[in-house]
Symmetry: C2
Subunit: 340 residues, 2 copies
DNA sequence: ATGAAAGCGCTAACAG
DNA sequence: CTGTTAGCGCTTTCAT
């Protein structure tokens, strides 16, 4: 016997109409118990699989969303994906995913392709400062949630979720100060990203509030090669006079590189130099020494992001328009380990 | 003006028929240049997006595939995903992804849901030893590629791709022997997984070929807690007499834990003990000392997996049946760093 | 080169 | 409680 491919065939087998089968399958309407059972039985026997594409086409909603991550250079994304996926699964949604590798052109192409796929919304972890394409989405009524990466101007324009990056920077720096460090260098991230600017502002204010001057020589900018570039920078700065006695890395992977450079210089961590990071990427606990870091609730971030997206989707279904944007700020946690 | 939602409206605007618009849009058939331009113009002006769901329904192929990963405990998956995604994108496919968290029940549920979504195939990185559900897929003519995790019996039954894990184990062990290590412990992985057994076999044979006895006390089994459990095991074994002078970790994350334990014991790596891993997970170069490891070509693995899947899909489209299974074994690379 | 018509598999009025 | 009918947006003969 060949595969049953449609509700109609099931209907024929059971001697009922297609609508009845449909009703049984999605249980929205009452069906006589006897026919119900008969249908269910036939479905099971024939291994019938309802075509979700047809259903989506008919109903005008695909129950799919798109999750976009920038690349895997940064280890926080897997956890976020996990969170998104878990909620999506629970709520009957399926997730398309896409890696943009930070290339703007592809990014817009992907939005378009996904919209053609009739996805109901986007969770974007890959915004890069130029949000015009994303605003276009919103204007056209597409639900969007920005995770972690967004600009200040995005607040109130669309749904965002992150930790308080200013506080995270502040707390990290303060912790270094309190542990007696005098010359704290900061390894900044991409200056185009709000989150890194916030972390920098936190650093600056923590120093200022402690009555310290900001030494511009200690404000390290990420070189074009990405994290890895910090290797040379650290090696160089540690040989100068007035070398720093602590590094505040604005993301864990930068901390890893910095520690590598310090080890290679035979400097002791935290004896000679402290290092603190932000993220709590999966491996920071395994560094030598284990990295003190500001832990973001990554999985939860993904979960909440998906919930925010569903809120928009449902609101839109009901009222035909996007709800007023929401901003969620999650708490973080300073994990003191042995690098400070 | 409200959104144009169908080809028909475009047709009306241009004073042609829907079929013509369709023809223009997918360029399969010749259309007079003038009308072509007229249609394309209207499409652009109205920002029309063709509904891929409808097309898929009509054509009976959705141009989507499903990628399944077990969890993010192991850092090799992001790279594989990246590889899969890149080829999929090039070939006009869109990728659903799903994290199974190694829970068998959900896994079957996901297969079903995805098949209802009409995905054209599966790339599975999450097989767990009981492949019956997967075999069922194949029997029903669903293209499947198994990446990395599969059983010996799977070879020749379905498409698989991996490195030669036996050789990888052999080479790692041999390298430790040649660097003068006498008592090499192995940190085994899940014994239910073929790949770990292969790596173990490689270890065993390398020792045997070097005329060494296998000391069962040095064959360490992964405790139920996963990698982390090795922490206590290492601490214990290093205090016994005849402690090992090297660890062969059958996956990098295990190596990280082992190094952590060794550091905490104040042992020097590689002075007192060498450590070698397999994977070249993103961070192994940042360990202290940088981890010597057998690098798998992860991204390429994902790319080739996707190509294998496409091969099956295309063959099936033509001949209506799956092609004979293929087995790809990729080369690996011993990256000697400072942990040995 | 283009149009008319049928239909992919499903759901949702509407009628009974 | 169930069947009939229409149609979601698209492609694809078959005509012309």
């Amino acid at each position: 016997m060949d595969q049953i491919t449609s509700i109609k065939e099931i209907a024929q087998i059971c001697g009922v109409s297609a609508s009845t089968v449909s009703r049984v399958l999605n249980g929205k309407s009452y069906v006589k118990e006897e026919t119900r059972r008969k249908v269910l039985d036939a479905v099971r026997r024939t291994n019938f699989r309802p075509n979700l594409l047809a259903r989506s086409l008919k109903q005008g909603n695909a129950r799919t969303i798109c999750l976009m991550v920038p690349s895997y250079g940064n280890l926080i994304f897997p956890e976020i994906m996990r969170g998104v996926n878990s909620v999506a699964l629970d709520r009957g949604y399926t997730t398309f995913f896409s890696i943009t590798d930070e290339r703007q052109e592809t990014e817009e192409g992907i939005y378009n392709k996904m919209r053609n796929q009739q996805v109901e919304g986007f969770i974007i972890c890959s915004a890069i400062g130029d949000e015009t394409a994303i605003y276009r989405l919103c204007e056209e009524g597409v639900p969007v949630v920005l995770v972690n990466r967004f600009q200040k101007e995005d607040l109130g324009r669309l749904d965002t979720i992150s930790v308080d990056n200013y506080r995270a920077g502040y707390v990290s720096t303060q912790y270094l100060l309190r542990s007696g460090r005098k010359r704290i260098a900061i390894a900044c991230g991409d200056p185009g990203l709000f989150l890194y600017n916030e972390r920098y502002r936190g650093y600056r204010d923590a120093l200022r509030d402690a009555g310290r001057e900001i030494d511009p020589r200690l404000v390290l900018q990420e070189p074009p090669e990405g994290h890895d570039g910090y290797y040379d920078i650290v090696k160089r700065i540690m040989l100068q006079e007035n070398a720093p006695d602590a590094f505040f890395a604005t993301a864990d992977p930068k901390a890893f590189v910095i520690m590598r450079a310090l080890h290679d210089l035979k400097l002791r961590i935290p004896g000679d130099v402290s290092v603190i990071g932000i993220d709590n990427a999966e491996l920071s606990a395994y560094m030598e020494p284990p990295l003190t870091t500001v832990a973001q609730p990554l999985c939860r971030m993904g979960q909440e992001a998906m919930q925010m997206l569903l809120r928009q989707i449902e609101y839109k279904r009901e009222k035909g328009t996007l709800p007023p944007p929401e901003t969620i700020t999650l708490p973080f946690d300073l994990l003191v380990r042995q690098s400070t």
